[in-house]
Symmetry: D2
Subunit: 309 residues, 4 copies
Amino acid sequence: SALSRFDVKGCFVATYTPMHHNGDINPDAVPRYAHHLLHNGAAGVFVNGTAGEGLMMTVAERKKMAEAWISCCKERIKIIVHCGALSLREAQELADHAQQKGADAISAVPSFYFSPRTPVDLVRNLKPIAAAAPKTPFLYYHIPRLTHVDIDMSSFLKAAKTEIPSLAGMKYSGFDVAGALKCYIDHGEEFEILWGRDDVMLSGLAVGFESFIGGSYSFTGAIAERIIKAFEAGDMSGALVEQKRLKRIMDLALGFGDQVTTFKALTSMVTIPLGPTRAPLKTFTSEETSTLRKALEKEGCFEWMAKAA
Amino acid sequence: SALSRFDVKGCFVATYTPMHHNGDINPDAVPRYAHHLLHNGAAGVFVNGTAGEGLMMTVAERKKMAEAWISCCKERIKIIVHCGALSLREAQELADHAQQKGADAISAVPSFYFSPRTPVDLVRNLKPIAAAAPKTPFLYYHIPRLTHVDIDMSSFLKAAKTEIPSLAGMKYSGFDVAGALKCYIDHGEEFEILWGRDDVMLSGLAVGFESFIGGSYSFTGAIAERIIKAFEAGDMSGALVEQKRLKRIMDLALGFGDQVTTFKALTSMVTIPLGPTRAPLKTFTSEETSTLRKALEKEGCFEWMAKAA
Amino acid sequence: SALSRFDVKGCFVATYTPMHHNGDINPDAVPRYAHHLLHNGAAGVFVNGTAGEGLMMTVAERKKMAEAWISCCKERIKIIVHCGALSLREAQELADHAQQKGADAISAVPSFYFSPRTPVDLVRNLKPIAAAAPKTPFLYYHIPRLTHVDIDMSSFLKAAKTEIPSLAGMKYSGFDVAGALKCYIDHGEEFEILWGRDDVMLSGLAVGFESFIGGSYSFTGAIAERIIKAFEAGDMSGALVEQKRLKRIMDLALGFGDQVTTFKALTSMVTIPLGPTRAPLKTFTSEETSTLRKALEKEGCFEWMAKAA
Amino acid sequence: SALSRFDVKGCFVATYTPMHHNGDINPDAVPRYAHHLLHNGAAGVFVNGTAGEGLMMTVAERKKMAEAWISCCKERIKIIVHCGALSLREAQELADHAQQKGADAISAVPSFYFSPRTPVDLVRNLKPIAAAAPKTPFLYYHIPRLTHVDIDMSSFLKAAKTEIPSLAGMKYSGFDVAGALKCYIDHGEEFEILWGRDDVMLSGLAVGFESFIGGSYSFTGAIAERIIKAFEAGDMSGALVEQKRLKRIMDLALGFGDQVTTFKALTSMVTIPLGPTRAPLKTFTSEETSTLRKALEKEGCFEWMAKAA
């Protein structure tokens, strides 16, 4: 079954895309960035997703970034390549490419200009993408805040089961935690549900989730690791201390701008310089970066983010 | 401070309103209904809220129901009376009445026809209600799914702190668990945040919540109690088994209709007959009730709901 | 049929509620206010609606205001009393009262806390209200921007036709003009559709509407009359000049606050003093009123609003 | 100023993209399709927009279709090429290409995954696209129903005026007709506002609009022409008869599926066969096509659509 093909545990990093000052992608920086992620215990990476500005990139750029991550991380950690696009033909091209290059899984948002409204609509929307990489596990990317596609995910899994043979589960990044739990109860045996909310990771652990995916793990990987360890040791208050720190770092950063811009800047501080974000996102000035750094220093956030020796 | 005035732990039941067959309220049934709730360990009741069809009732009816609950439960468990209304004058009348009769706290949705859009708007909206019962702790009732008022709650608490002296916290029934956690981190020392999502109660416990409020606890009180006990004993897998049961019961019931109608029918099965729901909600026929009962029996739900001897 | 019972043409004024400085209603001011409206050619009034802060008032207050308008205007112009409320029992009480007192029609928003989602839901929601005043034409009040009830109105009319015998049509205050036209094409023979957008009154005239209803006609009645006259004379460019003036006045006023507060203040300038708006709306200070007046004077708006001699 | 560079009157057809049975684009069919549009009085075409499934196509396909339309229609009617894309680099590539090939204007939806929330956000989003074709008039494409970008358009024009030198106006396809009128009053001297709602074209004419753009004009061009003529002759009732027909045809068709699929099928009936729509849209079977045709025949719609001899 699908599950056997993509049975994962641990934290997946939704990676940022390294860029030159002019906004061109910089795939050469991937190995050094990846080194930091591996050091902090990442179980895998989610490439060209929301954090990676995947939908802001051209098809050619997305292929280059996928290749960079696969050639660097293959066999060391799992690589999920996001292939969603408004044009399903482009999405298919990306899916086929990802499979050929050896991605461990692909993922996609639906084509959301002509928005799917029902589980059946959504299946029809995703089926061609999955079919373009039939040997590669497919994970639906559920992020209604950005796609405005807000369909009950348990019903979708039920409808998709027989229609999309490579379906392996989903990245659940909706606000509605109860909806994730429902997926888990109804389909957890069969499908992998990756918990997409780092800001309440512990809430996911508590209701049985074992795999996580998020944009903050580029810099909070060490904290996430401690949350999981404390949880597994039954030390809930210890886990909560760490969860509150993780959340506090996120909230502090978000006080300075949008999530991708601020988190990419923060990642640049603790890994390697990743360069600017691309329009339509705002570019962070060095002054803004410095203000963010000071705010984080003031509360001791960098100590929290550091891996214990 | 406000916190000292309403420091609560445990499960609050958002009660259903007992009604006669013609839809008239039946306050005489409260003591027998309350008996069941007390037996299942309720820490308190939330009266005339969403579950109680409070906004579907006349002012006179709401007063009668508040009186019935207070006279029955006062000094035994805490009583929160929901006083929100579109007309702030009616809300004030209800708040004043609740204080005079001895409610432990009042709560309110905002007047949401001319919807507040900012934290400052929301403060202006709620201030007159709180001021009508100045000696009674005030809990904001955050339920954006129904009020369409979706303001960042941490910002609201910050803005309300000095403006609403009796503010004690809130019932947080939003989908966005991370928003609840943010309130907790930013204001948890000062305000009581009651976790309003029974369907993921364990997610709340995990991130530090100690007080809960929900419409399902009328029939899942025993399960909720076991969730808390297991959690406190560090038995997360035990707690999860119970949480999944609680969620499964809710999902099963919701397959048959809207939440208030189905949950009221289910409560009638395990406590005392509470009668119909009122228009615009659909009335459950006895056939529909029977179908629901059988679906629950089939999966053993009634055994789950029973209190261990 | 319903149509025969409420065949109307011309402009209905959605009236503001005269209030004392403390926010108490002032029904005694109605005759003088009505005098101005009649002088400007109003075909009728819509009482206790959005403009009138009807949902912000208590049931007792709403009855008093309905009585004041009926006793003053009966047999002179048509009186529609808005009876919608979250509590259908209150709505029924108001509907029954309006019928007894002699309202020409009643109107209602649905009970929108437990929101209707389908035409059938909406029929079930409204049916009890209409049934409480079975001899009085019933007009649905469609204002999705405030009720968040956004159901296709043509489908609703189709579903309601046989279920609500007193249904006479609706006040259509949605943004979607094409939806109004669809109602008109599908059901215009049978139902009266009142055009609820004064800001594009001429767009309604152009597609066949003959009855209008809005909050601005308290002060733009003379302009509206000139729009209709020009239109009927085939003078589209003359009609457009007046429509642009009407819209300019509205936009200017809305630059200073919410619609009810600013329009009530403006109405006070050109009719009689109507007093403050009630919380949760902001109260306009005399300084704010003065700023608004100057802005309108500067562009010559008061000349536009004046009735030609 | 911008206006002088794109002063247009009349009806623009939002064209459908001719496709082979396998969903590949068929640019060779453009001349025969265009012949029909010219015959029915089209003032111009809007290529690769919503109707044209532009966002469902690859960059290479969009370029080929733009070329086909330009080479066929240049100097005969105006050609607007839609260049919007989630990736602004792709949008820029398309804008540059359109300018090089000689488009009369370009248009774009914003990059709407990271949605602009304010007029300033929107300006930042569009500026790079316009700058990639600096000598070509730029028209913002306002279609909030699909992009979920619902910013006040008059405020946007004010903010954009100095920032986007090539800004010439917009295609206004929002529901809110009053918002369009506001743009017209505030900025009509300076900017061209194309009325994007064929279903209420007459409402636009009435408030001063002179240029129209829509997906139905492929088959309702003759009706639209008669609406304009009647309007200009002061024959409002004649205009309304035609507007009701236009709307009736649209509503009838929409009863059978989504707008692009049904309207493309209908266009195939009255011009030349245009082939299927592309996933995620549903493909119309020949049986469904036949049912649609019969429904239209039954009411005489094809007679309405025919050009008078």
